[in-house]
Symmetry: C2
Subunit: 306 residues, 2 copies
């Protein structure tokens, strides 16, 4: 099993690269990292960005971390992205993705990704405009795949999200999307499947199961996001959490049964900004220990995690 961590837990707290790098390696005992654009906005001016990406790469090297990919966080998810109703908004999103590829490349990641965007309520209510947004999206992703290749990346990583106005939100839609892109892309386009998205019952019903996502998408899955959830929200909670109901060990068994053990699985916990640093550190530590035990089947105890 290929367990890593998304740096979402570190935003606004442990933002200096040597600080989060040490935490990930020494405190959490992990080596595999997914960088979050919530730590370094791709929009930041190029000169500022370059000095910051240099520091990220150095810290990863110093602490023996592998930054596998870089991914959208909360900030970019606030916008409609590649599905924005206004062509000016879509153009801005294309530019954001290209700048994100530069960040990913500079920090040594081989993939970059995020959710593709949201169709507005107005566009979603009109079948023609909805179809146009989908067609435009295929063009955008094809264009971006070339930019990703130019930046030296190997993979575009597209998140499945639990809203009908967002693409991609079902197994069938994701498969169709990848089929529609066949032969049009310069790097491979893979899906990121997030537990809390995939099992969101208000959209998918109480029968939603991870096994259906795994068998339906198979090798198209490029990464997982792990989180604890009550299936009633996109929770992004850790372990232990009295509200959380997700059985991670059972999911690990399903991943093995589907021969997807090598797919990187990143714990992505999103804490309220106002939570104390001590509470976040305690939660992220216990959550990683839980994942190492239940997902990676390591024998860990508290003594091993400093």
């Amino acid at each position: 099993m290929n367990l890593g961590i998304n740096l979402s837990f570190a935003i606004k707290r442990w933002v200096e690269p040597p600080v989060w790098a040490r935490l990930v390696r020494e405190t959490l005992g992990l080596e595999l990292v997914q960088f979050t654009y919530d730590l370094l906005d791709p929009w930041w001016p190029t000169a500022s960005r370059r000095s910051m990406t240099r520091d990220v790469r150095k810290a990863a090297d110093d602490w023996g971390l592998k930054i596998e990919s870089a991914f959208s966080g909360l900030a970019n998810y606030c916008f409609d992205g590649l599905l924005h109703p206004d062509p000016a908004g879509r153009k801005a999103s294309l530019e954001w993705w290209k700048r994100a590829f530069d960040v990913a490349s500079e920090i040594g990641a081989k993939a970059s990704g995020g959710p593709l965007g949201a169709i507005s309520v107005s566009d979603a209510s009109d079948p023609k405009r909805r179809e146009q947004r989908y067609d435009d999206l295929l063009d955008s992703v094809a264009t971006l795949s070339k930019a990703a290749k130019s930046a030296g990346l190997e993979r575009l990583q597209v998140a499945c999200t639990p809203l009908t106005r967002e693409l991609l939100h079902t197994v069938d839609q994701a498969r169709t999307f990848l089929q529609d892109l066949e032969g049009r892309c310069a790097v491979s386009v893979k899906l990121l499947v997030d537990i809390g998205h995939a099992l969101y019952q208000p959209l998918y019903g109480p029968e939603a199961r991870m096994a259906a996502w795994l068998s339906g998408l198979g090798d198209s899955i490029g990464a997982f996001h792990l989180q604890n959830t009550d299936f009633q929200s996109d929770s992004h909670w850790g372990w232990p959490d009295a509200r959380g109901l997700f059985d991670l060990a059972a999911f690990a068994g399903e991943v093995r049964a589907a021969n997807l053990e090598k797919v990187p699985a990143f714990l992505e916990i999103i804490y309220p900004f106002e939570l104390t640093d001590d509470a976040v550190l305690e939660s992220i530590t216990s959550s990683v220990m839980h994942c190492r035990r239940e997902y990676a089947a390591e024998t860990v105890d508290h003594a091993q995690i400093a």
Copy 2:
């Protein structure tokens, strides 16, 4: 009483200016608006931005709305802003604020604002670095006040937030900050006080009361954010909400007693991205009706709100 709405409810849903403008005027029955940068990222390329700000201004004119100010949303709050530990990060934040002033000016707002930023855990642990961050912040705000004036704005609007590593988080700190800025700024610097920040009990204790913020800050308050809260999180819930405990009518009485009725009060509700559009529309409508009744003391019933 001067009741308005922050457009946070509209992000990723009703993003086209004529769509949210109509909703605000026709469905919610309001005229006073605080624009959110979650609808238009100041980082977006200038040409794209200008066509979008033109549309915002036109929609506001068409629907008789007054855009009083523009304010940071979730996206910009993900970063450390003007308190970033890396000079490159602080420089990027200064640039963001200047671009935000351009947006505010182009949409006809007279003020722009947001939270100032967060000190990293590492900087916060070192008294000298912490002091340096504060001194740098004063310089940054003084510089920005000049940029705000050049952009034609009248007011910088600084949010108080409920974290010890964020400035400004107490009445005393906010007063000292404004005193330290005296004589240094080209436009007035005012505070934005948010109910859910000001009464967050894990930081301020169970005795926290709005009256203390009102009497402590008085005329330094340039705006309020209204939200329903359980005082245990920065909730940003609406009304009705079974979890919420905030008595808005009592707060209105305190505002009147403090002679602050003219201060604009913007309802700022933040909905989970995955909530259905119907649920959000129902909640924002009932929340505004609650605010019109309890805060603005209007006689409204459902029939009046389309």
